[in-house]
Symmetry: C2
Subunit: 427 residues, 2 copies
């Protein structure tokens, strides 16, 4: 299970100006256990419904059955057409669990209407060996629908009689444009539960279907999420890690001027979780001028050579959340290869080098009074990912209550969409 | 040539609370033309030496000669071992100009000591067809040297007589550990000019060699940089785009509370420029508690479905810099494919869709009083990239003077390195 290490946000370590005393954090968590209770009580309500997702064993069974039915088609490429939550969740899972050199079907995610980017993929993969997954709840999302237009035209031209075979829709169970098209043209569909918003959808068919097709253990994802949920139910107040994380982020932002949250895994495989979390935090909490810490993605050790100068010496306005992998999937070692000047690097394992770098950075930041905390991930597997998703989604549901905003809408993106639509209508 | 559009940072558009009046910006630029003059006068000094790099035609000739000499080796993989500036520049160029489906040698960048990530690459590419480029000025950078240890051991085991054939070093012309190893073991080397820091090195052999091996027109990179430099020499005060950009960023940060700079290209191919710029800005200017805007990377339209809610409605503390590509490398179009409800998307080109989305977002942000500006890129080619590199490097040299910090050192990363070294020594 995940372990969270909060030592380096304490006033004792980083001063009262930049940190929080343990007593205060304890009181704050105890007082706000009611927010945790509210989440569990609201489990079947819109937004909060993400809590129930890990129980959907029938969804897993249906996906697995579909994946098995597709083996004879021998897909070499799975192309996901989707954007926002429909892309960032699957990308986080793919990059964490599937090697780019794997022999399984390759999962491409087209999450942009950049013509150069999209045609690069669409012109280079063999249509005959490709399954396209179109993801949109309403079927009116501009990006996937524009991409779908290109793909459908190409498929119909090449396979006039059975182009449908190359298409799967993930959409609302009853309503919306994709649902209508699917009915009219006899295309296989998978449901998105109606009470779930895009950024909370990774543990629905949105994440499960593409990842299963690419070879991910989707049962493990749900199992990890379930275990985390149970732990959040059992452990209360100061001992509830989602509440503690939310409390730290809220207090550091509102009381100590830490208006940015950096998510910095020491693991390339976990890097994309940062992109997924950026949407989760930004869209859920960024609602008014006093509410909305800015999420930032970073990668250790890579960003030690890019961002660390700023984090250590620049304005003290960030909370750094490290992720540390305790047991890497593979390791590398070497003998007496390097000259004496850097002889301390000889006879090492690479896992020791990255872990020492994590410790060096965390200790240096603490010495510079920069609050930081660490999520220890036992290993990068489906269960850990599922646990991370649940932890962060739960945390956001709490942050919404702390900031007194609706964590489940996103009114601030509508204006841009309207102008875009008007411009396209007049072309 | 690049064109910069500053309309949406004006007080007229986004209010005096969040924008700058044209008169003030004009006065500020005219007063600070002296900073531009200082950069040109300091051309041969440490740090400022980046200005002279585009003239290094002999470097290009030497690289091209080497590339030609390697054709008979038939490398299928080029693996770069480097971190920070040694990785982010080459990655930005690679992702902008080379399709992942290209038939040329594939450029892999190992910029982390993550054992799972590194072994994924090293265990899956055929050593016999791989050339490794080790980049470190001193030869003591932990990450590339640890990776080099693994690679050298494997190469020596597999090719005991001529493992050197698979290695090239890019390092200091005279000093340092890689230089010593190269001499002792007869390994081909390329120089990094001694007066150039890592984050300003993309137009040296650091960027040129790996990119040329992967098929990039490196002459075009330098030509674009030269053209930008000449334009920055000729156009003064309010008409100097680097000065205007620096002025806007500085004034918005210091006077209007825009402590974050978001770089948001509407182009997947330009996305990695954001990573390169993050290091450039963060390491150069992040020097003390009142100096250091935080750089953030984003991608249009993708991040409209992730960050935009926060940018539009959250705290008004960001400057958004868009990049807009006027002519995409390829385009996609379609006919009457979609149902009437989204019929406005029919008979469109994808370039129209992404451009309408850019306009919608830029207009919506402006309406919400969020200052934003746009860099128009005529097309994504080597010359445009070279121009972007020069523009941003020059801007940073000006920002250093405005913030009164040394833009060319990075003392804040040493502490972490020391602790890391001590930890590894005691293992």
């Amino acid at each position: 299970m995940l372990h969270l290490q909060f030592d380096n946000i304490s006033a004792k370590k980083v001063s009262l100006l930049h940190g929080i005393s343990e007593a205060r954090l304890r009181r704050f968590c105890e007082k706000n256990q009611t927010l945790v209770d509210t989440v569990f009580k609201s489990k079947t309500k819109a937004g909060y419904h993400f809590l129930a997702l890990p129980d959907a064993k029938s969804t897993v069974a249906k996906v697995k059955k579909f994946v098995a039915s597709q083996t004879k088609a021998g897909w070499k490429h799975i192309v996901l057409l989707g954007i926002g939550g429909s892309a960032l969740g699957p990308l986080a899972v793919r990059d964490a669990l599937i090697s780019p050199f794997a022999k399984t079907a390759k999962l491409h995610v087209l999450d942009n209407v950049d013509p150069a980017f999209a045609s690069d993929v669409l012109d280079n993969i063999p249509l005959a060996k490709t399954l396209f997954i179109v993801i949109s709840k309403s079927g009116t999302t501009t990006e996937p629908m524009a991409l779908y237009a290109v793909v459908k035209e190409r498929l119909q031209k090449k396979f006039p009689k059975d182009y449908q075979k190359h298409l799967v829709f993930v959409t609302d169970p009853k309503n919306g444009l994709l649902r209508e098209i699917a009915k009219a043209e006899n295309i296989i569909t998978f449901d998105i539960p109606p009470k779930i918003g895009g950024r909370f959808s990774v543990l629905t068919n949105v994440g499960l279907l593409p990842c299963a097709l690419a070879g991910v253990d989707i049962g493990g994802l749900l199992k990890g999420a379930r275990m985390m949920r149970e732990s959040l139910k059992k452990n209360k107040g100061f001992y509830n890690v989602a509440l503690k994380l939310a409390a730290v982020q809220f207090l550091l932002d509102q009381k100590k001027g830490k208006s940015m949250t950096v998510l910095m895994p020491y693991s390339n495989h976990l890097f994309r979780i940062g992109d997924w979390y950026r949407q989760l935090l930004a869209e859920s909490i960024g609602k008014n001028r006093w509410s909305g810490p800015t999420p930032i993605n970073a990668l250790g050790t890579t960003d030690q050579h890019s961002q660390l100068q700023l984090y250590n010496d620049g304005p003290n306005n960030k909370l750094i959340i490290f992720m540390r992998v305790l047991k890497p999937a593979k390791d590398l070692k070497w003998g007496n290869v390097l000259p004496d000047e850097i002889g301390f690097l000889n006879h090492k394992k690479m896992s020791q080098v990255i872990d020492a770098a994590y410790q060096g950075t965390s200790q240096a930041l603490t010495k510079h009074k920069r609050p930081n905390l660490t999520i220890e991930v036992p290993k990068v597997d489906a269960a850990s990912l599922g646990a991370l998703f649940m932890l962060f989604e739960f945390e956001i549901a709490l942050l919404g209550q702390l900031y007194k905003v609706n964590a489940f809408d996103q009114p601030g993106v509508e204006h841009s969409k309207k102008i875009t639509k008007k411009l396209l209508m007049n072309l």
